[in-house]
């Protein structure tokens, strides 16, 4: 399962039961802090109707919500007094607020140095404004004692991926925007709030439904609707600062007007049930579907791991000459194989640079690079633009990337389509060679047809076909017996099932959030999975991780992954949990024997990356050697 649901960057101290009553003096004066229009009944009714009719779920926005001077002062205070720390997890990259005196978090109990911020918080959680929000959203009563706000700033490359904000007693989410008050925040700066419709509850569609480009003193709000209120913050594309204050109105607490005993517990319980529901995985594509390796082949592998020592003599000359077509010859030498095997046995992983041989690598590098630099038709950015053999990984609160799985085309646009694929349609095995032949055949046919009408588009299709075809060739190689034998020898694992995917992580779109491996109850199968990633990213600039696209593994003690902060890894206090990381690069094979408690993710690839992350990913089940 993923850890994505309901997560949003916040200060450790903020989600708490802050039982500070907003003082009555402030409450009575609160109207001066708001723009007068919100007290106008026509405005309220109009907004209420807008929210009622809004899509994809109930949400609303108000421009110029607060008194302009107050909010400008808040902005000044925040910029002068608050220290921001970069935080990066699988789901976000953002600068979070911390008090200057206490860098670990802003102390909301002492806002003496931030008088305007104090006024703002008082105004937001005042009876007046809570009643207003209740009225326009129709969400019911809101708590005045449980305040829950944080300040974040999104600068270039910051983002927050799709989530639904559902945690505990949250009833309404809001975001008050404070970019530079004297400038217009333009759509091409990025940083928009994007809302997602759902395929079925808990499964957001992969493309956003609508987006809001925020301006200074604009608020966006929506009722937290379990399984429906999916949204994200588009990456900020330019070197500008998008400051915002965000928070939640909670359901009334004990002693407050509107308190319903057991309501909070009930909401939490139902959310958890929805998350744990097995049914949800039906909507995940690609499926985790490792195919059986034949018994005869497994017998050969059994024999290989029972040899006294690792040696390339257990590979036939035909094996070697086939492997050499793809791999660096050095990797097929006995001494190298022993070296790799020792390291792998010791560490549980190994990085092998220059895995593909130089000739093949140079050709493939040029092919992919030229294709990306001249991509036509343009890179697909919505699901409908993705053309077979490529498919799009969904849903976006877990993952988004393009892949080739070697299987036939599937339509997964709606719940009915998905139901057909899962329960009725053909269940065939992958065949990358066949897909490759199909790509070549279609490409030849189209180039013959357009021989007399040469156009950019047809040459673009051609280069796309060449890349896809070449990657399928490598995927076939990953499924070859010779390669499996080599793998068995160096890993000393008897491989019994496999799944190979060709993947592309597009800039400005793609990622995989942290996941644990689903449990396999079969005792004859090793609880670890052997994973291989052949990095095939031809562009430069990935080394420092600023473009994202890196692969990272962490250990979690909590196999359910319920700890909200388990994915925070870049801060020093959590660095111990990171057990492996690898930047996107060219021609590196990573082998990992992944335990059930190892979370793994691929970081969102920035819009400003110089290209896509490409890779070939393999997973193998192995025989449990203790059985």
């Amino acid at each position: 399962m993923t850890q994505s649901n309901g997560k949003r960057p916040h200060d450790g101290q903020i989600i708490n039961e802050t039982s500070k009553k907003i003082d009555n003096d402030v409450n009575s004066k609160v109207e001066v802090y708001f723009s007068s229009k919100i007290f106008n009944q026509d405005f309220r009714d109009e907004l209420k109707n807008e929210v009622k009719d809004s899509q994809p779920y109930k949400w609303g926005t108000i421009r110029e919500l607060m008194n302009d001077e107050l909010l400008r002062n808040v902005r000044k205070e925040v910029l002068n007094e608050i220290h921001f720390t970069k935080k990066e997890t699988d789901i976000y990259k953002v600068f979070q607020s911390g008090d200057l005196a206490n860098l670990s978090g802003l102390n909301w109990d002492d806002l003496s140095r931030l008088p305007s911020l104090y006024k703002l918080r008082s105004a937001i959680y005042s009876q007046t404004f809570r009643d207003f929000i209740s009225y326009v959203t129709g969400c019911g009563k809101l708590s005045g004692i449980k305040t829950d706000m944080s300040i974040n700033t999104y600068t270039k490359s910051c983002h927050l991926l799709t989530h639904d904000d559902v945690i505990g007693s949250r009833r309404v989410s809001f975001i008050l925007y404070l970019p530079d008050p004297d400038k217009t925040w333009k759509p091409h700066y990025g940083g928009s709030l994007r809302l997602f419709d759902s395929v079925v509850p808990n499964v957001p569609k992969t493309d956003y439904h609508c987006k809001l480009t925020p301006q200074f003193n604009q608020i966006a709000f929506f009722t937290v609707q379990p399984g429906l209120s999916f949204h994200d913050v588009e990456e900020v594309y330019v070197d500008k600062q998008r400051l915002s204050i965000q928070g939640w109105f909670h359901i009334p607490q004990e002693g407050e007007d509107g308190f319903i005993p057991g309501e909070q517990e009930e909401t939490a319980k139902s959310t958890l049930q929805q998350l744990e529901s097995q049914e949800l995985q039906e909507y995940d594509f690609p499926k985790i579907n490792r195919n059986d390796i034949s018994k005869e082949e497994i017998k050969i592998y059994d024999e290989l791991v029972n040899k006294d020592a690792i040696s390339n003599k257990y590979l036939s000359t035909t094996d070697i000459s086939y492997l050499e077509k793809f791999m660096s010859p050095n990797l097929l030498k006995t001494e190298t194989m022993i070296q790799i095997s020792d390291f792998f046995a010791d560490q549980g992983f190994i990085d092998i640079k220059d895995f593909i041989n130089p000739k093949y690598s140079t050709h493939l590098h040029k092919l992919i690079r030229d294709f990306e630099l001249n991509e036509l038709p343009k890179m697909p950015s919505r699901q409908s633009e993705v053309k077979f053999p490529w498919k799009q990984a969904v849903p976006p609160h877990k993952q988004r990337f393009l892949y080739i799985d070697g299987q036939h085309e599937e339509k997964i646009d709606s719940a009915d389509d998905i139901n057909f694929v899962n329960n009725c349609g053909p269940q065939e095995l992958p065949n990358f060679s066949l897909v490759k032949n199909l790509i070549n055949a279609v490409s030849n046919a189209s180039s013959n047809a357009s021989a007399n009408t040469a156009s950019d588009a047809s040459s673009g299709d051609d280069s796309s076909s060449q890349v896809s075809s070449k990657l399928c060739e490598l995927a076939s190689f990953f499924k070859s017996k010779s390669f499996r034998k080599w793998l068995v020898l160096i890993t000393q694992l008897v491989l019994i099932k496999d799944q190979i995917l060709i993947r592309r992580f597009r800039p400005g779109h793609d990622f995989i959030l942290a996941t644990l491996l689903p449990k396999d109850e079969d005792e004859a199968v090793l609880d670890c999975i052997l994973e291989a990633t052949l990095n095939l990213t031809p562009t430069r600039g990935w080394e420092n991780g600023e473009f994202g696209g890196y692969e990272l593994c962490m250990i979690t003690d909590d196999e359910n992954g319920e700890d909200d902060d388990a994915a925070i890894y870049r801060s020093s206090e959590n660095s111990d949990s990171v057990v492996y990381s690898s930047q996107a690069c060219w021609n590196k094979l990573t082998l990992i024997l992944r335990d059930p408690n190892v979370l793994k993710f691929i970081k969102y690839v920035s819009f400003n990356a110089n290209g896509s992350r490409f890779d070939i990913s393999g997973q193998w089940n192995a025989k449990n050697y203790s059985c």
Binding site: Q347, G348, I352, P358, I555, L593, V598
Partner: protein
Amino acid sequence: MGPKRPLGLGRSSLAKKKQKILSSGASPEVELELKAEAELEAKNETPISSEEVAIADNELTVELEEAVDPTDELSQLRALWFTFLKSERDNELVLNGIIHECDRLLRNTVGTKESSLKSSSNSDKLPAYFHSIYALSLAELAAFNSETDKVKDFFDAALERVQLGFESHPNSSELFLAKSKILLNRIPLEYISKMDLDSQVSGSKNPEVLNLLEDALDSYSKINKNENLKNSYFKECSEILDSLNDLLDIVENFGRNDEGLDSDDEEEEIEEQQQQLEQKLSKKHPLYKLAQKIKDYTLWWRKNTQDLLLQLDFYIKENNLDKIQNEIGENNELILLYREINKKLGQSYLIESEEPSSIYASLTYDNEDDLNEINGLTAENSSKIAQNLIKKAISYLLKAEDPESPQSWVDIAEAQISLGNLFELESDEQENIYKEAEKRLRKANRATHGKYDDILNNLCSNNDD
């Protein structure tokens, strides 16, 4: 017993946490256990505390140059230093390791001499690069301590090391390079970072920044430009020139708002930011004298950058680097550097063209007062000057063009648009230049999946108007 069966990644990492990269190539490698550094004694000679050293159980892979003896300690030191330079330079632990190693080598050498020759603290057996590495590592450490008052101590210690090196190697280019680099880093880090618009020259706390700069440039001039041309020479010289360029930029924009100009900012915003730029420093400000001589130093920078570029060009051709790059399909670091230097020169001419360009625009399109000239330039003169400068800029940017970097195509296109703006509206010259620019922009936009949509729309809508 057969080969070992692996544990999972999680289980293995509980026992130990290290990561190794195995190259299928055959370059020699040395592994350095940094934890060993923690056991080294913290010396009082350098401003390092033992806490700073005893941090981690890390492992670092250091690649040695071909044809060096992997057991030679000085070669190892050099390799470690280059590894640090190639990295993000954010590992204080590695720096501390280098400094401790320098200390150790120095003590050993001095010790040997004392026992055998009864000599005092002679270290002339140590090569110049040893002193250079020692000094530069100390100066790099200053950056990690920029919040503390140790910055001065680090720079003083670094310059002292250079001075000791000169005693044994008085004409060493490596030491001149090191000195220049240290001084150029010292000015912003130790002095400018503590200034604001109200700072005033006051006694020894604010030494003449100008003198430090002169000293740095003097050192750079003393480097023998003909000896031992190799990759590191070009990179180090270029780094010094970059530091100078950055310093001039800091001084020129001192006190200005951080957020950069955006190509799509509304005109009034640009004007507002320009006004900020023109904010004058008072005569008593420590940067005043330097600010007055910005143009001279910019010319010095340009002249020396052009000289370095010529040398690099010659070196690339002589060693067939461009041909080799095409064959192996990988990017050679010197070719990347060559493009980078060209880009910077192009940008410097573009910056110089801004004033005459804006005079031309004011006199031609915004001349409500019917002026014939501004700052002694007529529309015709200013256009001619600006055109020449931008053409020069474009010639450099074309050499900086990287077939794999859409940004480099956009740089050319933007310069072409600036050039086009200097011709009569809708004239053939203007249209042709805009078309050229549009071609490059479209190509870049395609390669970056729409990154330049906005500039392109702007250009095309202007064309359509």
